[in-house]
């Protein structure tokens, strides 16, 4: 199969969806003429023009709220937050308007919008630019949350997110944009991945590592070392979508291994892994042979200092230590 980058995979998804549905358009800061701050939308403005790829001023509350309003009339805006960190200035529009207009209207209004952009630490841009708000978005019933780890998943999930009739918060990662992976050729047909289906990215019977986003790659790295150096074989389950959540896949791997380490770039307090841990103790308590363990980002604002920031995020070393502590 051909390989392309995570960035190209997203770009392809936009290109295909813009052509498929006249109501789909991209909007965000620098997405059009500048080709995107991270070049994710490269070439799309040249190809599709001003109407379908719209440069917005720096006005997240304004343009995201506007997109929510436009989506109520049936458009399908795909909004880029240059960094997901900037959700804070658009939060009212996201939480109260995108998240709740359907409910408060008794189901009369839909909001088929996608809000996307990178949500990650690890690039030495300091605390204001390193938020990972998937846990925060997922606390709003009405919003959906997706965090792909690979090029393939990025494309398949983005196309599904755009077609979904509910608001989807799509979290990418600047450290993944350049990574290559196998992605089906468009010539082989329309390729989508449903939301709410996790993916077992590695099989092994001893311990379950459950992760999402770039933490999946950390978990995979740890799994290889554990296998080579300790003869411990790990399942690595990639959640892919946080809400809806593939509960069955989680319970299945826990039943198989009886030992779980959750790897999560969120901070520990009410991070996604806290929810998963609660779910496991509630539904799979009898399957467990050890307490559920977590490896999260260290509980402080994101530090700038490059070598220390590396340590603040989940590392393979910390995952390995946790696994060894419960085996």
């Amino acid at each position: 199969m051909r390989t392309i980058t995570y960035r190209q995979a997203l770009n392809e998804a936009f290109d295909e969806e813009i052509q498929r549905d006249p109501n789909v358009f991209l909007i965000g800061e620098e997405v059009a003429e500048y080709d995107g701050a991270y070049k994710v939308t490269q070439g799309l403005w040249k190809k599709h023009g001003d109407k379908r790829v719209v440069d917005s001023p720096i006005s997240e509350s304004g343009f995201i709220g506007m997109a929510v309003g436009a989506s109520m009339l049936g458009l399908r805006p795909v909004c880029e937050l240059m960094f997901w960190s900037f959700y804070t200035v658009a939060w009212d529009q996201i939480a109260n308007n995108a998240g709740m207009v359907r409910y408060m209207s008794g189901g009369l209004i839909n909001c088929p919008i996608v809000i996307r952009g990178p949500a990650n630490g690890g690039t030495n841009v300091g605390a204001t630019h390193s938020h990972t708000p998937e846990n925060i978005m997922a606390t709003i019933p009405g919003l959906k949350v997706v965090c792909p780890a690979t090029a393939r998943d990025a494309k398949g999930l983005m196309k599904t997110a755009i077609r979904d009739n509910d608001p989807v918060m799509f979290m990418e990662n600047t450290m993944l944009y350049g990574l290559e992976g196998e992605v089906p050729d468009p010539a082989d047909g329309d390729f989508t991945i449903p939301l709410g289906v996790a993916d077992l990215k590695r099989e092994g019977g001893d311990v379950s590592l459950i992760a999402h986003g770039r933490s999946v790659l950390i978990a995979l790295e740890a799994a290889e070392i554990l296998s080579a150096e300790h003869g411990i074989e790990c399942d690595v389950l990639d959640l892919r979508s946080i809400r809806p959540l593939d509960e069955e896949a989680i319970l299945e791997t826990v039943a198989k291994t009886s030992r779980v380490v959750l790897v999560d770039e969120n901070k520990p307090f009410c991070g996604v892994s806290a929810q998963i841990a609660a779910l496991i103790q509630e539904k799979a308590f009898d399957d467990l042979d050890a307490p559920v363990q977590r490896v999260c980002s260290i509980d402080a604002p994101a530090i700038y200092s490059p070598p220390v920031e590396k340590e603040q995020l989940p590392t393979a070393r910390r995952v390995i230590d946790k696994v060894l502590s419960i085996i």
């Binding site: 304004g62 308007n97 408060m104 209207s105 009739n165």
Partner: protein, 365 residues
Amino acid sequence: MPVLAESTTDFSKTEINAALTAEQKRHLLRDMIRIREFETGAFEQYQKKKMGGFLHLYIGQEAVAVGSVSLMGDNDHVITAYRDHGHALAVGMGMDECMAELFGKRTGCSKGKGGSMHFFAPDKNYWGGHGIVGGQTPLGLGLAFGLKYKGLKGCSMCFLGDGAVNQGAYHESLNLAGLWDLPVIYVIENNGYSMGTSQKRSSAFNTCLAERAAGYGIIWDVVRNGSDLYEVREVVGRAVERAHAESRPTVLEISTYRYEGHSVADAKHNKQTLQEGYRTKDEIEHYRKNFDPIGNFSEKLIQEGVTTEEEIKEIRKAAVAETRASVTFADQSAFPTAEDLLTDVYSEVDHNTLAGRTGRHFFND
């Protein structure tokens, strides 16, 4: 501070108003009376504890919603804040579904899920009903964006209060509206107060609040006497025309006045002196007497020979009866059930699509 003032112009003679038939004029009067009676009835029911939460009454401001909405064509849309009953009835929502919503009943316009501040009727181009001050202003812009994107000749009328003009979301919306030539009309209903704060204590401005639009290159205008339905129609009509013909935004400021408290629980709105509250009984009386939109329009229509005292009495009687019937309807309707909590959250789940059936969407036991 801009306050209501009698206009020297007779707006009944302008083209847009001269075109009204006698029947249409009676209809406009009837619409205002229906809003007044509906809210008077709702207030009574609130005092009988038939509903919870807030109840922000529109009484005194009826000419603004009715006048503006009367100019709407098929592709014109309305969105407002939480003081939303007047706009709802003006666009044609029924009293039954509105009263039932206040009562928190399943037969309410939002199935009892929205409440007083969150009425919606997308089939009537009415997009709510929004509880966060200023939060609706980008949505109103989005309706205009949607119209332009689809190539439809229409406009979005987005109402907001004199307090809402200080929210960032509104200013961001003005910038985008001006920048992208979007057919949105921001209608500032300046009733002089945001809750207990007078305009003087909340806003920095030169001559009026609408004038701020000039900084964004947006044309603005004012309605000095917002209790004159003819003046409202004249000024809003020009903005609608601009939106339709040139796809340009407008900011309007309409001076108006609310007679009741901010919400019905507002202990400081009608005191003897300004030491005791933020406005006095005398002030309210002044506006009731001189600037009542219904009294004002009734008088005009009688003078024009379009209607009579007797006919107006009949209209009022019918509105009272309609309100009573809506109270009975609301009373007799069922509350939603605990199961209803989990519908209308996700469209895909409600429609039981493959997406809605895939993965866990709710995290209850």
